[in-house]
Symmetry: C2
Subunit: 144 residues, 2 copies
DNA sequence: AGCTTACTTGTACATGCATGCTTCTGCTCG
DNA sequence: CGAGCAGAAGCATGCATGTACAAGTAAGCT
């Protein structure tokens, strides 16, 4: 029975529902209209915002909240799509920089329109859902 | 450059960071101390709360925010671990009920202690992080 | 009889963990 | 002071797993 579910637990289950809903919308839109996965899009975003458009694998991993090995493969895909390229670190030959190409910046800029519009739409849907509306409201108040 | 990132986008990236952090803590704790994955734990929770401790695959899928095929395999694992069992729907022979066993209820009750304690700890960690604290605060206010 | 619903199965893929390989760093010992 | 070595740091790779998508099967509906 629900006996005494912690208020934190109830809160978190709401966040999970919101997260699942929004991420699914975002992922579908990006994949369908730009051929980009969510992680790929976000990786391009971090790279585009980084000085000189380059980051080390490690930094990209923590920024994305992903495993280091996942980032190796993620960057492999980006390289294969010519959106980024690898560059060796001159002062530390263990290090590898991933550098965003102009193509990568372009693709990301295009995708960002979709991303932000889809996000707004997903938020609107959530606001219309009785279970999600309260959480979204709290988040929006906190973001001001 | 960050040019004009939507406020929604900034908000969502914060939610993503919080989500990644908390889920990783929860998943690790459940796996290590109870041999349960997050989806398995949550599935047991929905089943335990359902009338007669049973749900149809479809309902479980939407409750978990998962695909139907994912639920087929998820329930397969739960069955293999003797935490649940299948039961055919008498009036609709296409339907399959997944019924929680006593063992399943026990395991879930044990795991819940870990889950809720880990959740509280993860929230505390988030509250100490300057990037996450504001979001968490908004969520907590909204949950009252 | 089609057409929809409810699952299952085949397949592909992104991710995580453990491991291996290279490079760097620090420390000890001659 | 320099050589050498143990251990850490930074990535890549092998393997296992969880999930999604597409197609298949079986049962109900109109």
């Amino acid at each position: 029975m629900p006996s005494t579910t912690t208020s934190d637990a109830r809160l978190w289950s709401g966040v999970l529902a919101l997260h699942a809903h929004v991420e699914s919308r975002l992922g579908a839109a990006l994949q369908r209209r730009h051929g980009l996965g969510l992680s790929e899009y976000r990786a391009l975003g971090f790279l585009a915002d980084a000085p000189d458009g380059e980051l080390r694998m490690q930094d990209l991993a923590t920024a994305l909240g992903l495993n280091q090995s996942s980032v190796t493969r993620l960057v492999g895909r980006l390289n294969a799509a010519d959106l980024t390229h690898r560059d060796l670190c001159p002062d530390d030959k263990r290090g590898v920089y991933t550098v965003i190409r102009d193509e990568g910046r372009t693709r990301h800029a295009e995708a960002r329109v979709t991303y932000e519009r889809t996000l707004a739409a997903a938020f609107d849907e959530a606001a219309a859902d009785s279970d999600l509306a309260a959480i979204l409201e709290g988040l929006r108040r906190a973001s001001r």
